[in-house]
């Protein structure tokens, strides 16, 4: 095997000091260990942060909720406050992975999980994300799971996280601690970076930065929150497309429509135009179709993901119907009951 150093950080300061360009943070390890075994990731040092105090709590901060980076997916999805105030997040997490993996996977790790592009996984293939400058074998390859939006000629990969998609719809903020002890807060929308010509850089973290928490703003009172994940089997599969929506209807008009879309871009995807088309309007199938058309207008970057356009379009309409109360969770038309 490739020998690597293992450092256990007992405090944030230790972690900050131990991190450098050759190091990776390990917490749950549900993604990292798999990638190390097949030598897609080859860190020379692992910094284990699981013993650091204060990163495993979910705490209320006024209306906000602070989620420590080491909170497991299971703990987060099951948290009473989350289920009550931010049910979208709970539903998104439970739509991902398996119970065993969720028991181990952490909030910070989930944010930072790598793409599932098969060319990233296969070291015999060119991949700018894995080996910068080698090219992108997914161009012209087989690409069912690739992204639809936000790609570049250097990388077509999609971000597979369910959790991060819900957090994006909820306007979460990522708390980052740098090695000098300074803490900064970055909106999740600004946390991720598109591939451009550096697809190996996926977010704003410096090499010695550590994600310490995710902060959810005040609950979106009165919203219907729906997480819709469409995949190639009923469970335990990465999404083809997902729609996370928190929608509020008041006096017959949509007054809020906070949405994010997963598995269709290098990061959880949002489209302000689509939101603007909905807010202030009365919910109707015609309106939803118009919004869905606007969302899926762009050309697919690879012929194998052309299918994601009609799929996303239809999934958004079905999700909005449910979120606006035109249908129930099974799609039963409320007006006709």
């Amino acid at each position: 095997m490739i020998p690597f150093d293992y450092t256990r950080a007992d405090a944030l300061e230790d972690a900050g000091k131990a991190l450098d360009a050759k190091a990776e943070v390990i917490a749950g390890g549900t993604n990292l260990l798999d990638l190390m075994k097949i030598q897609v990731m080859t860190p020379e040092k692992l910094v284990d942060i699981t013993r650091i105090d204060g990163l495993s709590e979910i705490t209320k901060d006024g209306d906000k909720l602070r989620i420590g980076a080491l909170v497991t997916n299971t703990a987060l999805a099951n948290d009473a406050n989350v289920r009550k105030g931010w049910p979208l997040l709970s539903r998104a997490i439970l739509a991902g992975a398996s119970a065993q993996i969720r028991n181990k996977a952490t909030t910070g790790g989930n944010l930072l999980q790598r793409t599932r592009c098969p060319y990233f996984y296969d070291t015999s293939q060119a991949c700018n994300k894995r080996a910068p400058g080698t090219g992108c074998a997914a161009q012209g390859g087989s690409g069912r799971m690739l992204a639809l939006f936000g790609t570049s000629e250097h990388c077509l990969a999609a971000h597979p996280s369910d959790m991060a998609t819900a957090m994006t719809a909820l306007d979460a903020v990522v708390e980052i601690r740098s090695a000098d002890g300074e803490t900064r807060q970055v909106p999740i929308q600004a946390f991720y970076q598109g591939p451009g010509d550096t697809p190996h850089i996926e977010n704003v973290l410096a090499e010695d930065d550590l994600v310490t928490a995710v902060i959810l703003p005040a609950p979106l009172e009165g919203t219907h929150q729906v997480y819709r994940k469409v995949r190639d089997r009923a469970s335990y599969a990465f999404a083809l497309v997902t729609v996370a929506a928190a929608v509020k209807v008041e006096d017959g008009k949509i007054v809020r429509a906070d949405m994010a879309f997963g598995s269709i871009a290098p990061h959880p995807f949002q489209n302000a135009d689509v939101k603007d088309m909905l807010v202030g309007q009365a919910p109707s199938d015609a309106l939803f179709a118009k919004a869905a058309d606007a969302l899926t207008r762009a050309e697919a970057p690879h012929p194998d993901v052309e299918y994601k356009r009609p799929l996303l379009r239809r999934t958004l309409i079905a999700t909005l119907r449910q979120a606006c109360g035109l249908s129930d969770a099974h799609g039963v038309d409320i007006a006709k009951v």
Partner: protein, 730 residues
């Protein structure tokens, strides 16, 4: 004290045999007994191939070719300098390109330094630890001379067009038919995906080899090892007492086993080689993708007069196997004219072979969907159309069928499933529909030997037959216990050792019947001797609870057997297989919900009604049938291997990208019903193959249900959300 008894018999299935197991009266055969090996398996103590690590064992990891075709010009051992713990890099002309096909009994293609497909094992890195070997295999620098212009897709490769198999005049019948369908279907490559990856531990003592490996057919595998290595079969002992699933992928000896043998001999130490999941995908025989064309012509009242099922499959040059796509289409229904033509494409892709019901598994999905489309066009109930077209004799050769309760299965299933109330309905966004299909799978008796040793207190069954998770330990014990008047606890079953009498092995659903018949025949010899010792006719002998009764005499087995009575029997197929046609038959029913927005399909209910001769163990039989139905579901909805069309490499190389059904995909309401049957022509225990019948047709029932729900047909499987949407929008 009488001497030990020892007799060897050879039986050929030339005529139907009396139903002795209906008269032995113990009620053990058929009973839903637990597997004796169950506790070992659930406690993790059953020793699978890679679990037994001899002292001083080295670890090997296979290196794959990363070109589509060409030559290895150099394997640079120097590239591993400084990697501590690397022992050797083995390249050897005896290494095999791919696993042997089932029952080959000889070495598969050995390519030396030639590369025939991307992913072919070309070298073995051996190290002191598995982790080191894995790292070194990854670092090893290999240089190639790659061929240009290699065809890596079935469409672009050379096509070998076969002569059609025909009966009557298809063209004339089709031209004259009042109602016709002419339909194209496509299914992707499949991988067997057993839970246990392919593994081998090779150890030499002088010139004697002991190979522990995950294999389905030890008798053939022994010959394949010997031929591959150029040694005598007598120098080879194979041990495969527990195998973690095969599904066809462990029928023949694999590259990991031959590489382990070569390395162990060269290095003078035992070597273990376990394939990574990715290597299983790259270099274990896949099921070919299929392009199928089904043409059916019928009279207005629904009598099929013309029936044709053509297909194009693929396999690499040098492999004789071709997915027998139209196997069941040739005997399920009759017609005035029938025609079946196969084309084999020769791309540089992972070779193909037997995977879970080769032929029927994908052939029946297309064929039984086409039958449904014909019914639709006729305005006829699909059940009715099938019932109307059950032929009197084999449509291709006129042989009579042996036991065949197809009509009973169709009618019984329809009744239980509520077919008469079939109505497309809607539940919110979900469209609900029902579908059905016939089930059929050829049945075979393969030469098989077994030895039964009887003492006064119990018996031992010995054969090189394997248990690949199917229940062999249980059923062979049950047959011996039933025949010899013992309890199953008194019978020990020893399997998977090539030093024991050679059995059929596990494959083609023929293992239980073939190996079971050998045990039956051996036990029958013992019964005859016991009758003699008791002083009665064999027909009058009753054995039960360790007591022999007959001719008003009663004696305990302990009184009749001094030390040990040994009988070995070999059985092989004979005239009955030529004079009649034996197959398993059944009917599949499915109810699905299709989301009209997202195209997601959820199976609500499944029912399989099957008649498969005598059931040997109601519990393991049911598990086999259910498992088969799950695979049928998976092939209809999930399973798809994807290859890169530029170099042919497998893109879906793990179980996160290659989807088999998850628990949530399998309906809670899933039932199997066995109709009572005895197949007298099949074998002396009147049983038939089970596992693969569960698959055959199950996927078609689901596709037909999707069509019923949506009014639209998906003809490319799996029916993934986008394909369902495309159909709904068409």
């Amino acid at each position: 004290m009488r001497d030990d008894f020892s007799e060897t018999t050879h039986f050929k299935m030339d005529k139907a045999q009396p139903r002795l197991l209906d008269n032995t009266g113990q009620g053990i055969v058929g009973a839903p007994l637990d597997r004796p090996d169950g506790p070992l398996k659930v406690s993790g103590t059953a020793p699978y191939a890679a679990d037994v690590l001899p002292t001083g064992c080295l670890h090997g990891v296979l290196v794959r070719a990363t070109i589509s075709r060409g030559k290895v010009t150099a394997v640079d051992k120097g590239s591993l300098a400084g990697v501590e713990g690397v022992v050797d890099v083995i390249t050897d002309p005896r290494m095999i390109r791919n696993p042997a096909q089932g029952m080959a009994g000889e070495a598969p293609v050995q390519t030396g330094d030639e590369v025939h497909y991307h992913g072919q094992p070309i070298a073995l890195v051996v190290a002191e630890s598995f982790e080191t070997a894995r790292d070194a295999a990854h670092r090893l620098k290999v240089t190639y001379e790659a061929e240009d212009g290699v065809a890596v897709t079935p469409d672009t490769a050379e096509q070998e067009v076969g002569d059609p198999d025909t009966a009557g005049d298809f063209n004339a019948a089709y031209d004259g038919a009042a109602v016709k369908v002419d339909l194209d279907y496509f299914s992707p490559s499949h991988v067997a995906a057993p839970m246990e990856p392919h593994a081998a531990v090779a150890e030499w003592t002088g010139n004697q080899l002991v190979l522990r490996s995950a294999l389905q057919m030890v008798r053939f595998n022994k010959l394949e090892v010997a031929d591959s290595l150029g040694i005598s079969p007598d120098a080879v002992r194979i041990l495969a007492p527990y195998v973690g699933g095969g599904f066809g992928s462990k029928l023949g000896i694999g590259p990991e086993a031959i590489a382990a043998c070569i390395a162990a001999q060269k290095l003078g130490r035992p070597v273990r080689v376990v394939m990574s999941r990715q290597t299983v995908f790259d270099s274990v025989l896949r099921r070919s993708e299929t392009a199928q064309r089904v043409r059916l012509g019928a009279t207005k009242d629904g009598r099929i007069v013309a029936l044709s099922h053509d297909d194009r499959v693929s396999n690499i040059q040098g492999e004789g196997f071709a997915e027998p796509v139209s196997q069941a289409s040739q005997f399920l229904y009759g017609a005035d004219g029938l025609s079946f033509q196969q084309t084999v494409a020769r791309p540089a892709m992972t070779p193909s072979g037997s995977v879970r019901a080769p032929g029927e598994a994908v052939g029946m999905i297309a064929f039984e969907a086409a039958v449904d489309e014909l019914a639709e066009k006729l305005g006829m109930d699909p059940l009715e159309l099938r019932l109307k077209n059950i032929p009197d004799t084999h449509p291709m050769d006129g042989r009579p069928y042996s036991a065949r309760r197809l009509a009973d299965c169709l009618n019984d299933g329809a009744e239980r499933f509520g077919w008469a109330d079939r109505k497309m309905r809607r539940e919110g966004d979900w469209l609900i529909g029902m579908g059905m299909a016939s089930a059929a799978r050829t049945n075979m008796l393969i030469e098989s030997a077994a030895r039964v040793r009887l003492t006064g207190t119990g018996a031992i069954v010995e054969t090189d037959m394997t248990d690949i998770g199917t229940g062999t330990y249980a059923i062979l014990g049950q047959i011996a216990a039933e025949m010899l008047g013992l309890s199953v606890e008194q019978v020990e079953v020893r399997l998977g050792d090539s030093d024991l009498p050679g059995a059929s092995g596990s494959g083609g659903s023929f293992g239980a019947s073939s190996a079971g018949s050998a045990v039956f025949m051996a036990a029958k010899t013992l019964r005859e001797e016991l009758a003699k010792r008791l002083g009665c006719e064999a027909d009058d002998l009753t054995l039960s609870g360790g007591i022999a009764r007959g001719g008003n005499v009663e004696k305990s087995l302990a009184d009749l057997v001094d030390s040990e009575m040994v009988a070995e029997a070999t059985i092989e197929g004979g005239k009955t297989a030529k004079e009649s046609f034996s197959a398993g038959f059944g009917a599949h029913f499915a109810e699905v919900a299709v989301n009209e927005w997202t195209g997601e399909v959820r199976v609500r209910r499944m029912l399989g009604v099957m008649a498969m001769g005598r059931i040997l163990n109601e519990k393991t039989a049911r598990s086999q049938a259910l498992g088969g139905m799950v695979w049928g579901l998976g092939s209809a909805l999930h399973e798809e291997m994807m290859n890169d069309t530029r170099d042919g490499h497998v893109v879906t190389r793990d179980l996160a990208n290659y989807h088999v059904a998850s628990h949530l995909d399998v309906p809670r309401d899933m039932k199997v019903v066995f109709l009572e049957e005895r197949d007298d022509e099949a074998n002396p225990i009147q049983s038939k193959g089970i596992g693969e019948l569960g698959i055959s047709g199950a996927g078609a029932a689901i596709l037909n249900a999707i069509a019923h729900a949506t009014g639209k047909r998906v003809r490319t499987i799996p029916a993934l959300p986008d394909r369902v949407i495309e159909a709904m929008e068409s």
